[in-house]
């Protein structure tokens, strides 16, 4: 139905359609669960037959399907990555990690002291954390470079190592400020992601700052503080009960009372957590723009997010992975339903970027990998 409408609209417009009316653009996901199950079953059978080696091609097939089912203004995205690229990226990572971890293991065995053991473990954790964080950014960069819309490539500039450093310092600062730095941390990450994203030669822009998130975050932070206080009181109360028990007073009622002390704050924390997450998503969408287009997620609420994540988690756990196509479809429909794009832009002026253009592509493309 949607494509028929579009065709009629096209007939009424000039044939070189380069400027769009300022209007709301449709973002939708048309993937059927049955079709995705077809892909999923084949993936499963071939993965079992190859002892899991097929996973690179399985991921590629799933992505190609999901990308083609996601459309903006009726035009689908396209995924042009291949299983071979994923395999090569994986082997590159192994080639670097294997000698490193062997060296660390041998080192740990040869150096026979407790401090050395702790140092080695800490070093290992740091190296792994850095690689995982850098790898996640490299993975996103790979996926963007293999995503097309109207034949034009997306591109994510920026360095995975910079991103990992940003993440690590953010975690340290958040802990040091007892959590108060978190909204600034998240805003900083969102900015690094969005400001480095390009469609063709044109960049996305991010206007948001952590301050905008502060109010919804403080409500969450306050509730967490209340919860911690309640838990502390609960623990103290249990301790007092032990003393009361010896003098033979009725303790069951007091125990129940103490439990009631902890439950309402816990529920409030969950509510505030999802409210904050929804606020973050709205913040990120509202502060992202591309040329003349702006985004929003105005109707996203904490309750909707909770239903999405809780439902997905329940399905994932209960079905041991058998319902994962359902989870994918559900999530895609959710996000495309809530994301809105408004505005107009001169698409003819957006040009395909040259391959390999951009700063730091040389060495960084060594880690053109995707583990996600």
């Amino acid at each position: 139905m949607q494509t028929a409408l579009r065709a009629e609209e096209i007939l009424l417009r000039p044939s070189h359609e380069t400027v769009m009316r300022p209007e709301s653009h449709a973002i939708d996901y048309v993937g059927g669960t049955r079709a995705l199950y077809g892909i999923w079953v084949v993936n499963l059978l071939l993965s079992i037959a190859t002892l899991g080696f097929y996973r690179f091609w399985a991921k590629t097939r799933t992505r190609r399907f999901v990308w083609s089912c996601t459309r903006v203004d009726g035009e689908p995205f396209e995924y042009i990555g291949t299983g071979k690229e994923l395999l090569l990226g994986f082997l590159k990572i192994v080639a670097v990690l294997a000698p490193l971890s062997i060296a660390l293991q041998i080192g740990a065995l040869l150096i026979d002291s407790e401090e050395a053991d702790r140092v080695v473990t800490a070093l290992q954790s740091l190296v792994v954390a850095t690689l995982v964080l850098a790898g996640s950014y490299a993975a996103r960069r790979y996926r963007m470079s293999r995503t097309l819309w109207r034949g034009i490539r997306f591109r994510q500039s920026g360095s995975p190592w910079r991103y990992a450093a940003l993440m690590l310092t953010g975690v340290v600062l958040t802990i040091a400020t007892l959590g108060l730095y978190l909204p600034f941390f998240q805003a900083g990450l969102a900015r690094y992601d969005m400001a480095n994203l390009h469609f063709g030669t044109a960049p996305f822009r991010f206007h948001g700052s952590g301050r905008m998130l502060l109010k919804p975050f403080l409500r969450l932070w306050l509730m967490v503080t209340v919860l911690i206080a309640a838990v502390w009181a609960f623990g103290h109360g249990l301790f007092l009960i032990d003393e009361l028990y010896e003098s033979g007073r009725a303790t069951d009622v007091v125990e129940v009372g103490l439990a009631l002390l902890v439950i309402p704050p816990t529920i409030q924390v969950v509510v505030e957590f999802f409210a904050y997450q929804a606020a973050f998503q709205r913040f990120r969408a509202a502060n992202t723009s591309f040329e003349g287009l702006s985004f929003s997620m105005l109707e996203l609420s904490g309750g909707q997010l909770f239903r999405l994540y809780a439902g997905n988690l329940l399905m994932a756990i209960l079905s041991v992975g058998l319902l994962s196509p359902v989870v994918i479809g559900r999530s895609m429909r959710f996000w495309t339903r809530h994301l809105r794009m408004v505005g107009s832009t001169e698409f003819a002026s957006i040009v395909q970027a040259e391959r390999g253009a951009g700063a730091g592509e040389g060495l960084a493309s060594f880690f053109d990998v995707d583990l996600g």
Partner: protein, 354 residues
Amino acid sequence: MYDGWFNDGRTAARHVVIVNFARHGLDIRDRDDSLAMFWPYADLRLVDATRAAPLRLARRLDPAPRLSVADPVFRKLLFEHAPALDLRRSAIMRGTGTFLGGIAGACLFVAALWYALPLLAKPIAMMLPDAFEERLGLQVFEALTAGAQVCEQPEGREVLDRLVDRLATAARHPEAFAVEVVNRPIANAFAAPGGYIVVFAGFVAKMESADELAGVLAHEMGHIVHRHTSQALVRQFAVAAILTIVTGNDWGFGRVASGLGRIFLDLGHSREDEAEADATALDILKAARIDGAGEVRLFARLENEQGPTSGFDRYLSTHPPAEERRAAAERADVTGGPAMTSAEWAALKAICDD
């Protein structure tokens, strides 16, 4: 005549076009004929991965431009004009090929791990520095003897030392063996790298003659001579690494398969190690001129205790089936004298008395 969209792959502009089926390809032109293209059927490539509209086409020779047509009738007619584009049948063939090839590859892979891995692990284990073996063995030894009393009754200790010397000379191993009897009612004995052997009091109590104990000690010495513990470590490390690469770490089935695979491989290699230690034990007994009948009796008693080994148990056990071990000891037919006098044996049996 079908309505479509055309992207030239150089800009993000979308051109509205009209597509017609010509004899050898698609005729694409826009409303005022400023764009006119011809895409031969042989050059076409389907871009979409789904049957949902619109159908999207690209050219092999020039991969950037895209043609989209929404009408589902167009797809049907396109497959009639260009049957090569209908990938369904070839996809089934390729999928089946991958499936069968995958199974074949998986079997080869498992066979390689089973047979080739020990061949590689052996020389690597032999090349490990002695200091490494010593440190590893000491850790194991201290773990086994922690919190328990080492039996040190002087007469029994002396008899034991004499037996160990006799066997060690026969084994011709450059490093010394350190054998301790630990006062725990456990019916087992362990060998650790670096020459440490721990025999538990419960095991000594189960021995019916000194020849049997000599056989057990020789078996443990066999483990040390061949560096089985280090071999096992190298093997386990290599198997874990290789299986993680092949099966991947991020998928439930992969992790389960990898875990099970490691267990089965490990048990299989362990059985081979035990058989090798048995063979070396018989060699040592022969060189020390101790009667091998003790070993045979020991395995016969084990056989009676365990009963016949079912096919399933066979693959889940760290040791070869007792009947096979007994048969191997019988075949070796090691003859010799007693390991010690009965007085010495009595003293050894009392090693844990205070």
